[in-house]
Symmetry: C2
C-alpha cells in the first residue's frame, strides 16, 4: 500500500516542513498540498533531512485532484469536528481501526489521508469526498492536535502495516533456548544441594520472573555462562577439597 | 496510571511548548524538564491552549530527581540510538509493547517516560537509569524523529490504556439489529418476486458487503426505512391495480 498524505490548505510552512519529516520518518514519500502557504526557508529548516520529500511534493488546486488514483480516501478530524459534522452520519474510526480496514490493500494501491487546515480542519464538502473518517482519540479538554502531530500519529499507526514494526522482538530468546536455561537451572539446583521440597516452587517462581523479563537470546547465554562459571567453581573447590583430604 | 513526560536537556523552546500541547491532547498533565532551554514566548505560542501544562511543569537538575516516585522508567531512543548503545544489551520495545508492559499499573502509580536532547538523544548513563527502552519503529533512511513528534506517538499509544480510545465503535449496529435488517431484506426479496435460486447467493453477498461497511445503528434504521418505503409503494401499486381491475 502507498500512503499519500494530503494537506488541505495548510497555513503554516513550519507544519508543512514538519509533515515532510514525519513522512520520511515512517518510510513514506507521497506528499500532496492543496493550495498551501508559501514554502520558504522555515519549512526547509523544519523538514531537516526530509528535504527530498518537501521538494518532491505535488501542489494542486483541489482535493479532487489530490485524491486521484487512490483506492481509499480517509479524512481526519478532531472530536470537535465530529460533533460539528454529526449529520454526515459517518461512523468514525481510530487510526488503529483504519489500519485494520486497509490492511487488505495491494502494494501499489494508494490510500489517501486528508488533513484539514490548521484553523478549520476538513470542511463538510471535503469530508464528503472521504470513504472513511478517522479521529485520533484525544482528551475532550483539548482535542485539537497540531497538524504535524496528527500526521505523525496516523503514519505511525499505518506504517506498521508495511512491516516497519519494532524489531525489538526479533532479539528475544527462542522457547528452546529458554527451556535449556530452565533445565540448566534445575541441574544447578541439584548440584548445589537445593532442598528437594522447595525445588518445584522455586523453579516456578524463576520461570515467572524470567518470563516477565522477556529475555533475549544473548541474555539467556549470559545467564547460562554464569551458571557454568559457578559449576566450574564448585567443581574446582571439590577437587581441591579432595586433594586436601588426600593430604 | 499517571504518565510523567520527562524531557532531558531540551534545547528548543518550541519543542517544549509542542510537548506541552501533546500532553494535554492526550489527557496527561505531568511535565518534567531536566536543565531545559529558557522558556519564552515561542514556547507559549506553540503550547497554545496547553499553557497550564507548560506553566505547571517541574524544572529539575538531574534525571534522578525527575524520575523520583515513579514505578517504571522508560527511556526512548531512535533506532540509531539502539545501535550506538548495543552494549547496554537491553531488548527494546515498541510503544505498543510498552503499553502491554504497563497495563497492570495502578491508578496512582507513575510511569516516567524519558526523552533525550534533540541533538544527542538519551545518553548512556541516562539509559542506564531506565527499566525499559522504547524505540518507535521508523524508517532506517531517516530514523530520528522530532522530539515533540516522538512524544505524540508514545502518548497516543499509552493514553489508550486510560480509556481515551475511539468512541467510533460505540455507534456500530448491534448483531440483533443487523439480523433484523437481513431478515427484512429476505422478506423484501420474496415480496419483489426475486428468483428463488438466486436468493441464497445474493443474501450472502449482501451480508458480506454490509459486514465490511460496519453499519451503525442509525444506518441500519435508514436502510430498513428504505425497505419499508419500498414495501408501502409496492402495496400501494398493488391496491391501485386491484382497484383498476375492479373498474
Amino acid at each position: 500500500m502507498e500512503i499519500r498524505t494530503i494537506l488541505v490548505e495548510p497555513k503554516l510552512e513550519e507544519n508543512i516542513g514538519a509533515v515532510a519529516r514525519v513522512i520520511k520518518n515512517f518510510g513514506c514519500s507521497e506528499l500532496y498540498l492543496v493550495k498551501p502557504a508559501n514554502i520558504g526557508e522555515k519549512a526547509k529548516a523544519v523538514a531537516s533531512h526530509a528535504y527530498d520529500v518537501l521538494s518532491g511534493c505535488e501542489i494542486v488546486d483541489s482535493v479532487e485532484e489530490a485524491i486521484k488514483n487512490s483506492v481509499i480516501v480517509a479524512g481526519t478530524t478532531s472530536r470537535h469536528g465530529i460533533s460539528a459534522n454529526k449529520h454526515l452520519r459517518m461512523p468514525f474510526f481510530s487510526p488503529r481501526q483504519l489500519k485494520e480496514k486497509v490492511k487488505g490493500l495491494g502494494k501499489s494501491e494508494i490510500l489517501s489521508v486528508l488533513f484539514g487546515s490548521e484553523d478549520t480542519g476538513l470542511k463538510r464538502e471535503e469530508l464528503m469526498l472521504c470513504d472513511i473518517v478517522v479521529c485520533i482519540p484525544t482528551s475532550s479538554e483539548y482535542p485539537v492536535m497540531n497538524l504535524s502531530h496528527a500526521v505523525a500519529v496516523v503514519l505511525y499507526e499505518l506504517s506498521e502495516v508495511e512491516g516497519a514494526a519494532a524489531s525489538g522482538t526479533e532479539k528475544l530468546a527462542s522457547v528452546e533456548a529458554k527451556e535449556r536455561l530452565f533445565m540448566h537451572v534445575k541441574t544447578f539446583l541439584d548440584e548445589i544441594g537445593y532442598k528437594e521440597h522447595k525445588k518445584e516452587k522455586t523453579m516456578l517462581m524463576l520461570q515467572r520472573i524470567l518470563g516477565r523479563a522477556e529475555l533475549t537470546g544473548r541474555e539467556v547465554q549470559t545467564l547460562r555462562g554464569i551458571l557454568r562459571k559457578a559449576e566450574w567453581k564448585i567443581g574446582d573447590v571439590r577437587t581441591r577439597n579432595w586433594l586436601k583430604e588426600q593430604g
